[in-house]
Symmetry: C2
Subunit: 218 residues, 2 copies
């Protein structure tokens, strides 16, 4: 069984949890609170020198980092990971786009505006750039979705999961999707896929391990 080092409210971590849920793959989730420096401890850095979550232990002592690479790994051999050379390349195109055009802008805005207390004041100087570039990325996605239901291979793939991660929290960090109807329709389309789980969903295994939390949820 996979061990996934993940932070519940991280969009990058959520991508992997969403894929595992869609694939009905069981795993052990280990919460790493990056806001408390838990991804910068010597123990964690020994597992991932980049100090980031998500991180997947694929076998005893062997770790895979980078959310989008983990998506390809856990989805390998399933319909979520297209295998034809052109479909795979088009899915990858959108996943690299996600990492340099969407995540550094909407992901950064979400982190500082939604997760970090007082983050807005700390990042005033950067916010304008994030908004401008984030909207530009959303426009590229909107244009694609005007004539396509999904991003690659005419079906839900790891590319949609990667892009869903931060697009679905855009409205929690000042982005307004009102002028992006095709994106909003695509978000609903992803949410209707059997097995879909929202970001705040936790695997049962973890709840079993933490009866206090489960009880507290009542």
């Amino acid at each position: 069984m996979y061990k996934l080092y993940s932070m519940q409210l991280s969009g990058n971590s959520y991508k992997v949890r969403l894929a595992l849920a869609l694939l009905d793959t069981h795993y052990e989730a280990i919460e790493v609170d990056i806001l408390r420096g838990e991804s910068r401890t010597p123990e964690f850095l020994a597992k991932n020198p980049s100090g980031q979550v998500p991180l997947l232990e694929v076998e005893e002592g062997r770790y895979l980092a980078e959310s989008n690479a983990i998506l390809w790994y856990v989805a390998g051999g399933t319909p979520l990971a297209p295998e034809s050379v052109i479909d795979r390349a088009e899915a990858l195109q959108w996943m690299f786009f996600e990492q340099h055009a969407l995540e550094p802008n909407i992901g950064a805005a979400y982190f500082w505006l939604s997760l970090v207390k007082g983050g807005r004041d700390l990042q005033t100087h950067a916010l304008e750039d994030w908004m401008e570039r984030g909207y530009a990325a959303l426009q590229v996605m909107e244009n694609h979705l005007k004539t396509a239901h999904f991003f690659a291979a005419d079906q839900l793939t790891v590319a949609d999961i990667a892009l869903y991660g931060y697009t679905h929290v855009a409205d929690r960090c000042d982005f307004d999707l009102v002028t992006f109807p095709a994106i909003r329709a695509w978000l609903r389309r992803v949410e209707q896929v059997p097995g879909f789980v929202p970001m705040d969903w936790r695997p049962e295994a973890e709840l079993d391990d933490a009866p206090g939390i489960a009880a507290g949820a009542e």
Copy 2:
């Protein structure tokens, strides 16, 4: 035959040209000077809404963007593109790392310090961040290369080509590789692979189409 929209001095474009040379794949190279706005014309934006090179025309009117996605496409079915799920995921891990940890820092420093006239003065405020994050990325690479000859699958793959693109120009934009002996040895290793071409190499087809340039080179 592929048509590749590329800028000679762009590290992202060079990655694709290097892969095509290693694979001995012929293609038509079309120079797009982003410094003169040639990637922002309506004609180019119709091909790639992100307005970036490299861009590969894979068939009449069908375009693939994102250097690292193009690498997987052109290398599909060759030893440069590992097919086992774990080797592929580890190659992808390094390629996503390249796009968010190396390219936005060393790539940005190279662009502004080496290509744009007066760029250093324009980017004084950003340079310190680029240097700090760029060196952190180099350290992650150095640590990996202390015990490995290449980045994934124990052989040269698209991951090495992706990382070579900007690492090999680090010394043109203030980075000093003297404390990174494993990286320097790896750079030489890549350069010794049969078929290797340096960044300023141009395919013969392009020289044939531009006799003035070929003659001028004499």
